[in-house]
């Protein structure tokens, strides 16, 4: 389905990493037309073409422009188009208008990528530590946009009445239904949370560069202690079959289970099931990157909002885990394991093979608001806008999904969305007090 192309891998690990990341983005759009990559299907989403250009703008601006003498912008008018939200970088094209750009074309954006890739590969051997760290940051940044590109395309295709399939689905193999949820008890007490990122001075960059596993975003630190109450956490996420039982039991029509804002949302939007679900002839189907198909009752439920996740937990007599409870449980599990995005293969949550799994398939809503850790401080300059300014109104999700590039996520990784959003591959793990 997708083949790796792009800049040739260089000898240094960062160059290799850079090449692989850049190639994956291009591979993801291999089956998309110019028009497919142009449409913005809602304000929350962006055109695929925009993701390709914005991630390139990030390298061009923060590495080439700032650290490579004599570099000339590929096109002086494009930073206005492809800056996302960096106020410090000046005016920019309004977010809801990203879908108004038939020009530049996909081919021109791919040329832009090639131009920046070549310049960066040339410059890499000469770059200092700070620039190296920015390249590493740019790679992690692009991986985030790879996931968004897939979820945005999924949304875009979902609003087309023809419901086109991006890829052929793989034949479904009958799978045994998962065992009932098992509970992993935790006695409570102090645990270590988060991962430090160095940010001690102007000379010292804030993102480590030695290896990809050491990298962490600023919001994951400082590493610190947290006090947990005794609790238990589920050994797997909630399945489509379990969710169908919640629907059948009237879960979407019983205000007792819902947060007030969630109940308002359910009523205003007429929500009756996860996003992309539809009832056809008495059975539930879902839309995915392989088109519309029956739901798989054994697979993790996905495309649910925090509001839905919280209501489900209430209905199930449980609650959502805090992000610290989740992190304590996930430590020791392989963050590169599970169903995550590789260069080939279907992209959808799959039934778990058995045994506790914390990474991949679906991002797991936690009950924790996205707020800074003790001692958190934003970096100076535009890259300081990366995470800190989003710390109001959103909830933390953990664990990565089937659309997260393998190797991108780790136990300390904090994703975040507003409680009504659900076009990402979001799911639910239960917890309870003991």
């Amino acid at each position: 389905m997708r083949t790796e192309t792009g800049p040739a891998p260089a000898s240094c690990p960062l160059a290799t990493r850079f090449g692989r990341v850049r190639a994956l983005s291009v591979a993801l759009v291999a089956d998309l037309s110019d028009a497919d990559t142009t449409i913005q299907s809602m304000d929350d989403a962006s055109p695929a073409k925009w993701h390709l250009a914005h991630t390139t703008w990030f390298f061009e601006t923060f590495v080439l422009r700032d650290h490579v003498a004599g570099y000339r912008l590929h096109d002086e008018r494009w930073p206005f188009l492809f800056n996302s939200y960096y106020e410090a970088e000046g005016a920019r094209h309004a977010r809801p208008s990203r879908g108004m750009l038939s020009r530049p074309s996909l081919a021109e954006i791919l040329d832009y990528r090639a131009h920046v890739d070549a310049a960066l590969n040339d410059a890499l051997p000469e770059l200092g530590e700070e620039a190296h760290d920015l390249v590493l940051l740019g790679c992690n940044h692009e991986e985030q946009h790879q996931e968004l590109l897939l979820t945005d395309i999924l949304h875009h295709f979902s609003v087309n009445p023809l419901e086109p399939a991006l890829w052929q689905g793989t034949p479904k193999v009958p799978v045994a239904m998962p065992q009932p949820i098992g509970w992993l008890d935790h006695p409570g007490g102090i645990v270590a949370i988060g991962q430090d990122v160095e940010s001690t001075g102007a000379e010292k960059p804030r993102f480590e560069s030695t290896s990809s596993t050491d990298f962490a975003f600023d919001c994951e630190g400082p590493r610190h202690q947290a006090l947990l109450a005794p609790h238990a956490i589920a050994d797997r996420t909630v399945t489509n079959g379990e969710w169908a039982a919640f629907i059948a039991d009237g879960g979407y029509r019983d205000s007792r289970h819902w947060l007030a804002d969630g109940w308002t949302w359910v009523q205003a939007e007429g929500v009756e099931a996860p996003l992309y679900w539809r009832q056809e002839g008495g059975a539930w189907t879902r839309f995915g990157l392989d088109g519309r198909r029956p739901i798989d009752p054994a697979a993790p439920v996905t495309h649910v909002s925090l509001f839905e996740a919280d209501a489900y937990a209430s209905w199930a007599g449980a609650r959502l885990p805090t992000e610290f409870e989740w992190e304590a449980a996930a430590r020791g599990h392989d963050p590169k394991g599970g169903n995550q995005l590789d260069v080939a293969g279907p992209v959808e949550p799959r039934p778990s093979p058995g045994g506790p799994a914390f990474f991949g398939d679906v991002w797991e809503w936690t009950g924790s608001a996205y707020r800074p850790y003790p001692g958190f401080r934003t970096a100076p300059g535009a890259v300081g806008e990366y995470n800190g300014k989003f710390m109001s109104g959103q909830f933390v999700l953990r664990g990565g999904s089937c659309a997260t590039p393998r190797g991108h996520v780790r136990a300390s990784y904090r994703n975040f969305f507003y409680p009504h959003q659900r076009w990402q591959f979001t799911g639910v793990r239960l917890a309870k007090d003991i």
Copy 2:
């Protein structure tokens, strides 16, 4: 710039007409990419691809489906996508979502056109009078969409910060400023207005088919008498230079000249000049299909709303003509003359050569609300929705524009838009009581 392609002209005049119309639509998009034809830049506008498909759906539905035995739809799911507003034809894709369709692609739409063209050319010799009339209606319908296609593309390109030019402009030749407005006096009295369309019974179609010049839309009739008061009408439309004087005199900031709804609109939208005008370095420029250029003070002003037209007339101590005054003055002038859309050439209003001209360049706002003539009756069935149901809230425009296919318009022709709309090539002719 554009070359004629499409079905080969047949021997009968209607087949020739059909071939020419269909070819022009395809020629108009020759320089557009798949993505260019996919974007919908505002609710009022439609993607170019949609215009190509909708006009084809019209022939497929009302001629092939209804009058050709055994015809099978090109794609059974497409009528849902390409029906515009015909309630009687069933559910349809929501108008503001027309820009969400990257599939079908432009190439697929062009295949659709070829398929329908071939089927219709095959069927034409066998079709009866009613079907012939529907083909003629379809040709006139498509010509309307050709104009919309151009004005929609212009709007779409205008919201792209890169402001791409669809076509190269032609070099500007210095032109003498037009003479001051001359006034054509009319003593008042009874005049004949409108053009009959036959609609006397079920067997008798409502649209004539003998020749294109005889054709008229239902809203142009019945032909009837109207009583005019003594008045004078200007011998040309208002120019960009005159409009710049209106702006400089504070016309957009003086409530006395504005209709109340117009004043609300000016304030709410921050309107300060015609659409696509921008002040750069103290001088006015405008955006057109040839990109951004200085305004030509000698050319007719365009892209003004009824509200602006009415305010200008008030400022100038005049008023807008009624549609009957206009029609009485325009009778006798060649409706195929003037600057109208041909297969090649620039599309923008041009300075008039001198002498009264009533056709082409800009649609002229009249002071007449768009309402039915005495005895007007809508046709039975879906085509009856063509005009009558739009007869509230809109004003009549007369005369055609630089984007109106030559031969489409006539003295009795009634175009209509809401008083705030101005993305068409709309302009102003003054009148006054005498």
Copy 3:
């Protein structure tokens, strides 16, 4: 129910007229509390207190301030609050915020009225012709607001779930159902329309002062000739019973009968019946100033929009009359006859006694857009904003209603509202081509 109070009638007819008009306004609010008169139930409506103050502001501003030397404003801050829409009179309180004013209180507003009444009565003998004309204009202006005050209170009470009754209704007397509609034929031809208002110069006022019957608003003139086509007009308006049949026949769900904007409105607002109608136990009730009661099938239907009126006419195989057809038919009927607002008695449409009636009960939607007559020109200064600037997007209504002060209306009188508005006592008379 209501008793006449207010300034004592003076010897001159204008003083008498002034006294009566001012007293009626006060009488209309006799049963309203301070809070009742404070609420604004929608943007289109105004608080009763505001009507009382605004009409007073009109006299204070255009007569006392402008024509009485040494007059001092009752409160310098109040013109900001009580100017309605006169741009030339400067900034004003935003219309949708009129309901935010618990201060000044109703008692303070009544003091304001008494203050201005006294000053005006004192000044009246000394005032010149121009000021006299403004007093007369102010009386007619206040009569318009008396009707609005009643319809606004009706709307306000209708949104209170308790549905309070302002007045006790009178016992219903069984009435024979009206005869089927009879048709009044008109052969067509030239008729005289409108009523002149003198506006020939600065010395000469534009509103006549000799007697109330001679008065006309500027939009009623100039008197001019109009050409009618042969037609017939109904001898009475449509009844509640006939309207119930329209509903029962699916009239609100059949798009074929509706203007496109009307269909959008019906669907967006979920309209299924006239405003204030509700189905209870299979029968229709309506809310009125005497509370909720069963509809009277013999009485004229009211609280319908132009969209509904037009759809009903289409369903009935007829059309709405033009405003000229209506005026030609109404000439010769007594404009002070019929069911209009007096100092006492119920305010609702009643079954007609029989014989053609054109005045009172319900304002009758015409198919004519509200546009200027040939030769119409607005007056200089703020009072020139009275009518002309509203001449876009609205339709003309004729004939007055049960809430129109008796003596206010005449054959040439033009009322106007937007096609979706229906909180006035609006109804339907049919016409047809012959």
Copy 4:
């Protein structure tokens, strides 16, 4: 200014408490007219009359209806009007329409209060423990509405261009400017947070009744341990003078200090200063219950949103305290001390006398999202909707304000609002990492 009236104090402490609370509500509206108490000036606010009725409905529903045999509702239609948000109690009047109710009048609402007071005083000696707890809950509930009543009236008067003063202000006494902020260091470690409320079974009510000081809302518990990082917290809140310096330094125009949602809010709303501030002649004034006056630079700043509080803290090189840091610091201070609402006296933040103060004057925004404590569980039935369902999207405020009835607040008390809301008496205390 306000005098205590209402049910005579009974012998038991709860009856005394009930009588005092009920009397204070009535005293607060002593200077308001019927119309004053009817207006709803924004969706977030409610009419004063509604507060009076809703708090009465609470006692009538949860105590009299549920626990007093034979009690008959004062008016069966009123629960629909005066239920606030209890879904389990059935349908209710839409929140944004609370200002549409001129009926029932203020006098009728006061009768309703007297009726319920008498019935409850009669019943109190016979009521069981559960009902006693509900009476206590109702008293605390009413105290919350007393504060809202004052802040809602303040907002209502602020949107009246006349800016009426509810009360005469007291003469300003010159006060020495407060000392620079002093920092109270905390070494970090485990602290006890919250206050238990008993909720162990169906027989056992969840709100204690022994004394008012023991009462706590469900969201304040369970009492549990929290781990603090080393930090320092300011010994006083930020003053108007300090805030003016923030404004003068461009704080509202520098995106670097703002949360992303806050920056969007500042731009969309054009926010340039705290609510009710206005610049007049180069100096800042504020609107208060005593009208418009110059700001007092020594007094605590108030009417700022969480967004503004957070931006100020960033500008000052500090941060907001967590709610746990605040509670640890406030323990040991007298919760009945400080500037809180008594029966008489002005209601506005005042300069502190010196020495750390944590209660009264202004609610202090914390950096903590409003989420449940470990082990939190909602009560069964409608009262279970009291707090838990609001736990998304809001931030915790601590400490009470000048409008909080004295005795209502305590160290564990958690107030909560959305980050953009600022019509409460909200202020800022700084904290920092050490």
